[in-house]
């Protein structure tokens, strides 16, 4: 290589390395952005997992209940490929006043013949509501273990913050239960696709 080209080539290689690093820097940056804006139903939570983790602050003083408004909260859940569980909400939908504490449960059953460990990942729609949806206690805070054939009612306690935007009247809370047995998702999905 002609030596006079070397400085420019080096600078261009640095640019390329920078662009490659930028792609990986996007991963934490995107997370921060989502936590700040509530994008994709994500809210910031102290420690642990934060993706869609709607962790309320139990130490906060109880907010006054806003009796002038009613928000409908709907519950849904999916079991992801690779996990042979069933789940359904015992309450499909309820009306609540912002500031009011509510408790609901999901019925979850392990339909496989193996003890399985799994965790539920929550998500709130619309995204703008995510930051105003506080969970006081939730089965999604920790991993859940079920024996073969065992079923369990899994509780959830939440408050819709009175500061929620007046235009929001419906909130959907969705859970996706993921297996955490260390298997790769890809191989799990392939085996799922071939019954």
């Amino acid at each position: 290589m002609d030596a006079r080209h070397l400085p420019l080539v080096k600078r261009l290689l640095w640019l390329i390395a920078g662009a490659f690093a930028f792609a990986f820097a996007m991963v934490p940056l995107y997370n921060v952005l989502c936590e700040v804006t509530g994008l994709n139903g994500k809210t910031a939570g102290p420690g642990g997992f934060s993706i869609g983790g709607l962790i309320g602050d139990p130490a906060a003083p109880p907010s006054p209940i806003d009796h002038t408004r009613t928000v409908t909260v709907e519950f849904t859940g999916t079991v992801m490929p690779g996990l042979t569980w069933e789940m359904r909400p015992l309450t499909f939908s309820l009306d609540t006043h912002p500031g009011e504490m509510q408790m609901v449960s999901y019925l979850v059953r392990n339909t496989s013949d193996k003890p399985t460990l799994a965790q539920a990942i929550p998500s709130v729609t619309p995204g703008e509501a995510a930051q105003s949806f506080h969970k006081i206690e939730c089965f999604c805070f920790s991993q859940q273990a079920l024996a073969p054939g065992e079923s369990r009612e899994m509780p959830l306690t939440f408050i819709v913050n009175p500061d929620i935007d007046k235009s929001i009247r419906h909130i959907t809370l969705s859970y996706a239960f993921f297996s955490i047995d260390g298997r790769r998702l890809a191989s799990a999905a392939t085996s799922e696709a071939k019954p």
């Binding site: 290589m1 002609d2 006079r4 080209h5 420019l8 080539v9 261009l12 290689l13 640019l15 390329i16 390395a17 662009a19 490659f20 930028f22 792609a23 990986f24 996007m26 991963v27 995107y30 997370n31 989502c34 804006t37 994008l39 994709n40 997992f49 934060s50 993706i51 869609g52 992801m80 490929p81 965790q119 990942i121 729609t125 619309p126 995204g127 703008e128 996706a176 993921f178 297996s179 955490i180 260390g182 790769r184 998702l185 890809a186 999905a189 392939t190």
Partner: protein, 538 residues
Amino acid sequence: MNTATTTIPVAGAHHGDHHGHHQPSGVLRWITTTNHKDIGTMYLTFALIMFFVGGLMILAVRVELFQPGLQLMRPEFFNQLIGVHALVMIFAALMPAATGFANWQIPLMIGAPDMALPRVNNWGFWLLPPAALLLTLPFVLSLFGIGDGALATGWTMYAPLSVQGGFGVDFAIFAVHLLGVSSILGSINIIVTIFNMRAPGMTMMKLPLFAWGWLITAFLLIATIPVLAGAVTMLLADRHFGTHFFSAAGGGDPILFQHLFWFFGHPEVYILLLPVWGLMPHVISTFSRKPIYGYKAQVYAFMAIGVLSVVVWAHHFFTVGMPTPALIYFMFATMSISLPLAVLFFCWIATMWRGAISFETPMLFALGFIVLFGIAGLTGLVLADVAADAQYHHSYFVVAHFHYALFAGGIMGVMTGVYYWLPKWTGRMYSERLGKLHFWLTAISFNLTFMPQFFLGLAGMPRRIPDYALQFAEFNAISTVGAFVLGFSQLIFAWNVWQCAKGGAKAPAKAWEGASGLEWELSSPPPYHSWETQPQVA
């Protein structure tokens, strides 16, 4: 451009010496060559072959879509064809064709003896055939019962589908890596050549517009290809190494993949188009017998488009559920690209204004490009509108729009360049009669293929589905007929190029009466080693 040479290059010693001094002959010549003309020819030949490979894939798709119902293939195979068609056409046909142009033309046009990094240039090309093999091999393997075929996610490889897909995804990931490295090597070479090897007196603002277009493309490639490489590397890690970049199970987010992909994917559109926008003014000026209008305006428009192209990516997925302020930002940022683009259109038309225009094949293609690419731009504005996009997203309207941009804009632009420079490269004239036939068949059948798809999209036909509702039958049948005429018309092109290279009428050094620029001061074909003494640009 007033680039008159004052010294005649001393190329006589090499004139007609097409094999150099110690050049191996036969296949080994092509494998080891570091000559920019040889490498340019290889890029263009490879692009033409892959253009037909990608075309055959989509003709199979159009046969399937000729009638409602599933006639020919399983939906899985249909999904593989559309995704690999796109990757082949973008990465293995359009991009190599543009790089072939750059290799042949940039040294000739800026008065440089070769590309700055000849060995890197050779590597850049020879990464392409293995990449093309990786893309298409899974099809062949599946015929022998190995694996379940090629990438079936569409070319965008969206997670989580691509996290769960078969090994075709892995093949595509490695193909993208190779193609990316090849593009980056090509870009480094072009930037260094343009910065360091211009003829004395050729300031940046005397650089031919084609070189300017490519310079911006090269910087876009350097800024975005590594991001794509990063995204597919994360995808690979999610698939095999238990990471969770895009899988929500471990705290990842599939939408992140879309952001990363389109951070590359939108500039990619301009990567494909900027070389073509660069060559258009040369062609239009030649056949209008007038100097290029608005040289500076076009340079600044290229720069503006280059900068804007990296800040508008999210308009490709308006429907994922973004906050309204983000939607509005991406809508207006996207629409603002039409301003510099309108400057280019204006300059092209103003170059023709009151010119003594003649309609040789390159000019026909240039005019066809302006009209049809204009349609692409206008329908792009419709898609950029957040409210309208909610309806048109993922419909055939999008398919029609980007084929107006990438076939009429990209491929027809490349053909403009091939017809324009073919006499320079081969030293012979192609058949003007066949060229014109090729143009008219292409222009008419292109519209026959894609115009109905706008209406299909407006009526609600989703893309990437092998079957459709009965009311879409007529337009799909028309589109399929158009696609076959379009596909087979390209054989005329291949035949014409072959006949020209084999023995057309001799072309003079300045093959076109109205042409200007350094490349026309060399003989046709130029000597194997040209501009060894750099010309002085006034």
